[in-house]
Amino acid sequence: MSDKVNLKIDNIAVSIKNGSTILEAAEKINVRIPTLCYHEDLCVAGNCRICVVEQTGSDRLLPACAMPVSEGMEIHTNSMKVRNARKQIVELLVSEHRADCTRCYKNGKCELQELSSEYIVGENGFIDLVAHKGYTIDNFSPSIIKDDSKCIRCQRCVRTCDQLQSISALTVAHKGESMKVSSFFDKPMFEVVCTNCGQCVNRCPTGALTEKTYLDEVWTALNSETKHTVVQTAPAVRIALGEALGMPVGEIVTGKMVSALRRLGFSSVLDTDFTADLTIIEEGNELLHRLKKVVKDKDTTVRLPLTTSCSPGWVKFIEHAFPEYLPNVSTAKSPQQMFGALAKTFYANKLKVDPENMVSISIMPCTAKKYEADRPEMRSSGFKDVDYVLTTRELALMIKQAGIDFASLPDDEYDSIMGESSGAAVIFGATGGVMEAALRTAYEVVTGREVPFEGLNITPVRGMDYIREATIKIENVLPEWDFLEGVELKTCVAHGLSNAKKVMEAVRDGKANYHFIEIMACPGGCLGGGGQPIPTSPAIRKKRSEAIYHEDELKPIRKSHENPEVIHLYEEFLKEPLGEVSHKLLHTHYTERNRY
């Protein structure tokens, strides 16, 4: 059999690989077929039926997303029969939907809304089922709001949570008219295994799953006479914010973002990248410390592999799924929380601002960071270390609300003493970035030489492969690290929790003996975080990733331990890595959680 199939779509001939779907074939010739349940990142469900097309000679319509092409097929995507059917389906979805767009967070960004604007439903729709049945909204989680009355049951979220994250916090319950997306025993999201990663939010076509917003709280703080607002921006925000403000994917907007934050009225505009560098110092030293205990002192109470701890979705996942491995998780806080703890101590002291009057706000690519900031451990400054977490999307909304023409803003610079960062910090935003940053520093600490990779680019840990392994041989070490001479440092990088699960199972089953594992809960790392602009796709994440590595190359400083502000912070305040102050402010502990 030939591996190409020839068919006609709307009388246009197209030849495509055998096994492709009608949807893929149509895409190839720029015929757009509407979709709802289909998502590039997920397996095909074929349940919304909006993508139906007509095949000559076939009575029933075919779902373009699920139907493989066959030789000689004649497909019509815009016949009367197709249009009528699609209109019926849109009408049905709207009838099942609490369509109060003007009050909806997704207004203007909603796939159902877009479809219904094409297939005008009008006044003579079907009977309103929401009015008939009533609804509930789950807004107990600090990260995610689930509004069943906005759900069109496309199951994108269910597939996301299962296939990408292997968590299945969201599943389908009941059948027929009662069928709905539900959690374990229909408990609120914050009581179940949900990691708050927000990947479902990123893929929900409607307003049924959204982040919990803290815009009002932040505006109030900004407008308060007495409050000093400190804002930090995560590495992955600067390469994605532009998307939400009409700029091309992969545009780096660091300088404009800083300008915009000043215009919005933040008192101090600082950078999470600064504490990303700090994380590398603390976590890198923790790794070396553990290696010393294990390799030299033969201390059996110290655990390897060490895993990263900067992704709060990952942290909550391991607390639920592999609690026996909590001692393996680095005690270093995430950069967001390190920043929060320092803001209300070191920084407040410097500025002579009463920490009580300081409001610490972070802009994150992430919904899990909202939950992280709420954890009871995260109050080491004596106050809530991070008061409010906004997603990239929420910041974009603030900028719009403020009437700022983002694209025309001039570039601006972060404020100092917690605003400087290295290229190593920037790449925190991409899967493999923390590993690369840690290796750049740890290798140099141990050998006195730079990592043996051209231009400091540790390419084996880069890329989008789900699980990547790399081994680095440590040679010609400095005398105090002689026990590491000749050791092959085994590392592993995984992104997406389903891959994290595979890695942890391999570790548990003794099939892998890594020293250091980097895990990011979201596909692609933070650049694909649950708080990033919607939509997301492999191509979009690739562009964001390229932007991140480009930004790294542009940085004059590429290694965390060379960040002058970090060096200064140790000299003046922290004294030494893993020291007493660090222990109090920058490290944390974890809690075993239920499995459902």
């Binding site: 349940n47 039926r49 009977i127 199951q155 059948k175 027929g176």
Partner: protein, 392 residues
């Protein structure tokens, strides 16, 4: 050629030739047996009416280490209980059909997916299977049959939802293609046949394809077991030849006042009195006016019945039994039900029924599986034929 309504005694005939049939079949080539089945004209008795010989042929041609034979005994259609009767009185016929199928397609593992309400049949079935396994051992046939208890949901009778439920997942129909003969239970090539279909293969293997083909009419060969209910003095199950007119059927089974017959249960068609003569019972084929018998339910309504209530009951059933995954079926069924209620109560004009007919047609052409696709059958045939009863 005219035929009189005939009650047959083929399926339930008390005969025990399993060993002879298996020995005979082992001696013949697989192609011969398949061709026999194809020329017999046997079509599936479980729903879609797919030619059984062709199904086996496709599975035989599929390349795989492991293949499966599954007997669909989920029998969830309200008012049908013929599979239960077959399994309790002639289970060896069904097992014989499964073993022959396994032999032809190259399978060593079979399952009977038994409706959860039929749990009481399990012990006696297990002992028949035990005996059967001993016979297969003697004949050197490597094939084992297990019973899998159903989940209780009507949709799990749909073949791909049935596989999902056997695999421990939620019973939701899959996209097709791929079809079960390529990608069935556990993603392996699978033949899934209805209980009655398998029992018919026994007769064909014993009496030959021609004897079977002699019965019935062009597109619909052989006999069929019907579950007769409703306004009839003689409810029960009957084996009848295909090709009878509905008039003959009503003459025989009706109470003299029949105004409609629902052929094929909730997912079948409602035939009004004026169409009794023209309607021939068989698969939906080239003959105009024929009806799909699906599970073989024949429900007779006399003039005291409200067709609105009849339709209401069917829609209640669908609203609840839809798996809920696809838009047209999940929402459409609810809209049809609320819609006829609203018209009845005068909250919507009678023209709203026309809107619902358009909806039903859209459900037919866009739904993912047979359930949603067939709601229009009963809906449209009842609404179109008994419009006044819907309004007043």
């Amino acid at each position: 050629m005219k035929k009189n309504l005939q009650r047959l005694d083929l399926i339930f005939k008390n005969e025990h030739d399993t060993e002879a049939i298996l020995r005979k079949t082992l001696d013949r080539s697989h192609d011969e047996v398949i061709n026999d089945l194809i020329s017999s004209g046997l079509k599936g008795r479980g729903g879609a009416g797919f030619p059984t010989g062709l199904k086996w042929k496709l599975a035989a041609e599929a390349q795989a280490e492991q293949k499966y034979v599954i007997c669909n005994a989920d029998e969830g259609e309200p008012g049908t209980f013929k599979d239960r009767e077959i399994l309790s009185s002639v289970p060896h016929k069904v097992l014989t059909g499964m073993a022959v199928c396994a032999n032809i397609i190259g399978s060593t593992k079979g399952f009977i997916y038994l409706r959860s309400e039929y749990k009481f049949l399990k012990p006696q079935l297990l002992s028949v299977i035990d005996e059967f396994h001993k016979l297969l051992e003697v004949l050197n046939i490597n094939f084992k049959v297990d019973i899998f208890m159903g989940s209780g949901a009507y949709i799990c009778g749909e073949e791909s939802a049935l596989f999902e439920s056997m695999e421990g997942k939620r019973g939701e129909p899959r996209n097709k293609p791929p079809f079960p003969t390529d990608f069935g239970y556990m993603g392996e090539p699978t033949v899934i046949n209805n209980v009655e279909t398998l029992a018919h293969t026994y007769s064909i293997l014993k009496y030959g394809a021609d004897k079977f083909k002699d019965l019935g009419i062009q597109d619909s060969r052989g006999s069929k077991v019907f579950s007769v209910s409703g306004d009839t003095p003689n409810p029960g199950i009957y084996e009848l030849e295909f090709g009878m007119s509905l008039q003959k059927f009503v003459d025989d089974f009706g109470d003299g006042d029949s105004k409609a017959v629902q052929v094929g249960g909730a997912s079948g068609f409602c035939v009004p009195r004026k169409k009794f003569v023209k309607t021939v019972i068989g698969y939906q084929g080239k003959l105009r006016g024929t009806s799909l018998p699906t599970g073989g339910s024949m429900m007779i309504f006399n003039s005291s019945r409200s067709m609105y209530n009849v339709l209401h009951n069917y829609l209640d059933f669908f609203v609840e039994e839809s798996c809920g995954q696809c838009t047209p079926c999940r929402v459409g069924t609810q809209q049809l039900l609320l819609g006829i209620q609203a018209v009845k109560k005068g909250e919507q004009p009678s023209s709203y029924l026309d809107k619902l007919l358009v909806l039903a047609e859209a459900m037919r052409v866009t739904s993912k599986c047979g359930l949603g696709q067939s709601v229009a059958n009963s809906f449209s045939s009842i609404v179109e034929n008994f419009k006044e009863e819907m309004i007043y």
